[in-house]
């Protein structure tokens, strides 16, 4: 696979739940080694799309190819080739750090030797050697998230999906987390990440912004800021994501909002 290959290719992807359209004709590609920010307000349809791209849910229509496999036809091959870190903490609280590595390494069929080596590699990299026999529940959130990221990478996947990996994490640990992301991307792993921190949107090479099931903007942070004539990603996001369906709480302009919705 050469450098310009698309590791994710999405064409006219639609997902409906009853009469509700969660993903409305999504079209985009992500290149190998790219850091792609997948942004949008709560309820815009991000998690639905990530579940489809990681083979956990089938599209209603349209095509998604991830790491060379059609997600609807070969979900298990997709799962083998991706790492997934959910927004709800995904390691086991009542197992130790080492046991979590062994468990996830085992699931992906890594040899004992390889699991041992990977565990040591990541513990050294995170400077967490002293944590190896601690139960996960004894470890602060920020550290857990760094572990979860390492565990999601244990089988050297082509793409790693991170669903709000830094929510509630302190500012220092948040930045350390992004150094881990850069490190991974520099080694060729594609990073597909969602976040509500707009400074983190700037750390992505390209971002898309979803609103009500559709991708309303896509491009590099620099290009989007230029397009919208603003100085920060925060302003770009607010312009796109302030949806008429969810008027400002405390809002005096409810009438206007509902009018916009009709138009």
């Amino acid at each position: 696979m050469n450098k310009n290959d698309h590791i994710i290719e999405v064409r006219d992807l639609v997902k409906r739940f009853g009469s509700f359209t969660a993903n409305d004709h999504l079209n985009f590609t992500v290149s190998k080694g790219e850091i792609f920010g997948f942004l949008g307000a709560n309820g815009a349809g991000k998690t639905t799309a990530i579940k489809i791209l990681s083979g956990l849910s089938k599209p209603t229509s349209g095509v998604a190819i991830v790491a060379g496999f059609d997600v609807a036809k070969y979900p298990n091959k997709v799962k083998k080739n991706i790492g997934y870190m959910s927004q709800h903490f995904s390691l086991y609280d009542d197992m130790t750090v080492k046991e979590n590595f062994r468990f996830y390494g085992g699931i992906f069929g890594l040899s004992r030797k390889s699991i041992r080596e990977k565990t040591e590699y990541y513990l050294e990299k995170l400077k967490m050697q002293n944590f190896r026999n601690m139960l996960l529940k004894q470890i602060p959130l920020g550290w857990k998230q760094k572990l979860a990221f390492s565990v999601a990478n244990i089988h050297e996947p082509a793409v790693v999906f991170l669903d709000e990996p830094t929510g509630g994490v302190d500012p220092i640990t948040r930045r350390q987390f992004w150094e881990l992301i850069y490190d991974s991307a520099d080694k060729g792993t594609t990073v597909f990440v969602t976040t509500h921190y707009m400074d983190e949107a700037e750390y992505c090479e390209r971002v898309s912004i979803m609103s009500e099931g559709r991708i309303e903007a896509i491009g590099s942070p620099g290009k989007l800021k230029e397009e919208f004539g603003v100085n920060t990603m925060d302003e770009v996001f607010v312009q796109i994501a302030r949806t008429p369906l969810d008027p400002p709480i405390g809002g005096t302009d409810r009438g206007n909002s509902f009018k916009k919705q009709v138009n």
Partner: protein
């Protein structure tokens, strides 16, 4: 009627973990007071003590002259609490939850509807829906309605905006400002540094200690170093490169640039040396700007200092 709070020498340990270490703090009537700090810094323990849900090991807290240990029943009547973990009843509807919380406090939704209508009107169209079927933003609004339904004079919100998108966060803060105007003392914790600047005063917490308590403006004013915002064509290795060449300086990624703080005597020299050294490391298109600190710069510096000591 809002209340004032006096916290004196509060200590709390869980086994070997010291959650709060001799914390003292006064909060004025009607203040919108923010607690900023990493996970595990003691914010939630302090909130649980203030709401009489947890007993301190030592120290006292008085809320409007009431003691949190002796007068806990009175304190619970005047306090609205929104815990960090969503804790309404998932198998009851929106309306049932709200009525339930109102009846616990011997009041009714109708009686205090004016107070909650700004928030509740947004979820009222879905009042028959079971809470487990609500979106995150709607759950947050319902939780706030339930915390307000008995017309508290003190509102304590534990990370109400964690996991909430940038637009909804902005709207949530507009609402807090509005409630402050009707004379409710509000305590709120958050992991978002930009929200600190929206508070009257903030306390920065780490490892059970208060590192700083002040207005956001004063915290920024007390930051003595010069910050340079650095951008080059190669942002990935830039943090590591800048750290290597400035062992003393703080180097943090901030959106599209990287902030380097310096207390160098000759700032012009510092800047030109930065440029030369970055060129040597093959960075191109180097742009360096002197900027004023953001509140996040100040907190990062305070946290870093605390780690070193």
């Amino acid at each position: 009627m809002s209340v004032n709070i006096n916290i004196r020498n509060i200590t709390k340990s869980f086994g070997e973990i010291q959650a709060l270490n001799n914390v003292s703090l006064d909060i004025d009537q009607g203040e919108l007071f923010g607690f900023i700090g990493p996970d595990g810094s003691g914010k939630t323990s302090l909130f649980r003590i203030l709401t009489s849900l947890l007993l301190p090991d030592t120290g006292t807290v008085s809320v409007d002259g009431l003691d949190v240990v002796k007068d806990f029943k009175k304190i619970r009547n005047i306090t609205g609490y929104m815990p960090g973990r969503f804790s309404l009843y998932a198998d009851l509807s929106v309306e049932e939850n709200l009525n339930f919380y109102a009846s616990i406090f011997n009041t009714s939704v109708k009686e205090n509807y004016d107070l909650i209508k700004d928030i509740y009107s947004h979820i009222e169209p879905f009042k028959k829906r079971k809470v487990h079927a609500l979106s995150g933003g709607m759950k947050q609004k319902l939780a706030l309605s339930c915390a307000l339904v008995h017309k508290p004079s003190l509102l304590i919100l534990d990370e109400p905006t964690t996991g909430v998108d940038a637009v909804s966060r902005m709207e949530f803060w507009e609402l807090l400002k509005k409630m402050q105007k009707i004379n409710i003392t509000i305590l709120v914790s958050t992991p978002y540094m930009d929200e600190a600047s929206l508070c009257d005063r903030v306390a920065l917490m780490q490892n059970g200690n208060l590192l700083a308590v002040n207005t956001p403006q004063q915290i920024i004013k007390q930051y003595k170093q010069q910050i340079f915002a650095v951008k080059t064509d190669n942002m990935h290795p830039l943090v590591a490169d800048l750290e290597r060449m400035n062992k003393e300086a703080l180097v943090y990624r901030f959106g599209e640039s990287i902030h380097v703080s310096s207390n160098a005597y000759d700032l012009e020299l510092f800047e030109s040396e930065l440029k030369t050294n970055l060129s040597k490391l093959n960075h191109k298109d180097i742009r360096i700007n002197k900027i004023s600190p953001l509140i996040e710069d100040c907190f990062l510096a305070l946290m870093d200092k605390n780690v070193v000591e």
